[in-house]
Symmetry: C2
């Protein structure tokens, strides 16, 4: 215990240190880190290593499966997420972000347990989807069956007047079964070509039924679909990138406060 205290005492302050509660899955965490680097380069030019934001990451893939837990077929991931968040706080993180949409079903409990500042992934994605949104905008949502069935996005949108007029275009049960769920699974297996085919098909179906924008509401999906390729003729909102941009904004502002 004394050794532990000593190490806590010798930890230097690192202004703007972002804590990433990751591993859900591990490739999505890597994608989020890449998006932090890209967002920083856009924000400040980043000519040297030293211009980039400081990050600590706890990527613990042993966190119990979120979708299975929601379905009632597995234990809750909450305790393991709290423990992983605690590692980040011990490492000096001043903000916690969780690059996994489904994990946000436990966001309120996690925030209460960690008592640390956090950013909500769905808020970040909704804000980006809404910027320049027409009244009565039609948002297509690609996500896990737990995110879909729980109404995570729809409920969060309904809590704010800003999104009152949003109409959601959602995958059908058949599209979830044959395209979206196996597509996300293929990403986790590293079968990226197959994943791309399945998820593109699902995205096109949403556009055919009227979606004016596509929200990629599962952090595995932007590993194979992205806004740059824009093969869907509609704007694509990558929730992972939305969260990364806001985390970078927070970090740069914190460091500015210290330098000022």
């Amino acid at each position: 215990v004394e050794q532990a205290m000593n190490s806590m005492n010798t930890l230097e302050a690192a202004p703007g240190l972002i804590g990433v509660l990751g591993g859900m899955g591990p490739l999505a965490t890597v994608d989020f880190m890449q998006k932090l680097i890209a967002a920083t380069a856009l924000a400040n030019g980043a000519h040297r290593d030293q211009d980039h934001v400081p990050v600590v990451v706890s990527s613990i893939p042993q966190i119990p499966d979120r979708v299975a837990a929601f379905r009632g077929e597995g234990i809750s991931p909450l305790a393991a997420m709290v423990s992983s968040g605690q590692r980040l706080i011990n490492a000096g993180a001043g903000l916690i972000v969780v690059p996994c949409n489904t994990a946000h079903l436990w966001f309120a409990e996690l925030e209460a347990a960690l008592q640390a500042p956090m950013l909500h992934l769905v808020d970040a994605a909704l804000e980006d989807a809404a910027s320049g949104m027409q009244a009565g905008a039609n948002l297509g949502l690609l996500c896990t069956d737990a995110t879909l069935a729980s109404g995570l996005y729809q409920t969060r949108a309904a809590q704010s007047e800003k999104y009152a007029a949003v109409h959601w275009t959602l995958p059908t049960a058949s599209e979830m079964l044959t395209l979206v769920v196996p597509g996300i699974q293929a990403v986790k297996l590293g079968q990226l070509d197959q994943a791309r085919d399945l998820l593109s098909e699902a995205a096109k179906a949403l556009v055919r039924r009227g979606a004016g924008s596509l929200v990629l509401g599962c952090t595995e999906i932007p590993l194979v679909l992205n806004s740059a390729s824009n093969q869907f003729q509609v704007p694509v909102v990558d929730a992972t990138a939305s969260l990364a941009r806001r985390a970078v904004t927070w970090s740069l502002a914190q460091r500015q406060l210290v330098l000022a």
Copy 2:
């Protein structure tokens, strides 16, 4: 302090938790994490998130420039590296790895300060370069000017009888100035196409002068050159991947010990 103690006490044990002391640079850290995932998939199949190894990462790009410090033009990175390593220990890491070749100039001091198990990147790369190596093997080395001028690889090899017969083919001063140094710099600026051209040219020059294998001895280099493309007609040893494979082996063995 009491709060700090409490949080230390509530930290769950995570067998096989790899600590990555990163940010030198941030993209090289992301590349290392990808290689941990790939090495795990090769080692155990990895059908689910939960099959992957647990990792904590401290990616602090504010660590002072290693090359400038070696040259006597900047402050030592040691204190910042020790502080970053301490974050990983506080987060529960059982092993520390540093995906930056030049940082290994301070390896002995870092290991003494952290008093934690560490793996040496250069040992990992030399082992892979030596497997199947002929007597009198000729290794081409691409690295920063600090790694080159310090003799980091050559000295480490000279300390072991296994590598006694190794012959090194090194970039000339002119190749360092016009190809290798600007190539590494271009990676850090995110100008990957330009970096690939410069570093490929440097690699081809080593092969022309007799290198029978190429050691990519700077973690920025495999971001643009890789063994898979094998455009150089000789084996390529990616030091980042060598370190990742050994970290995964350590982690899987630790978890086996706990499950047994």
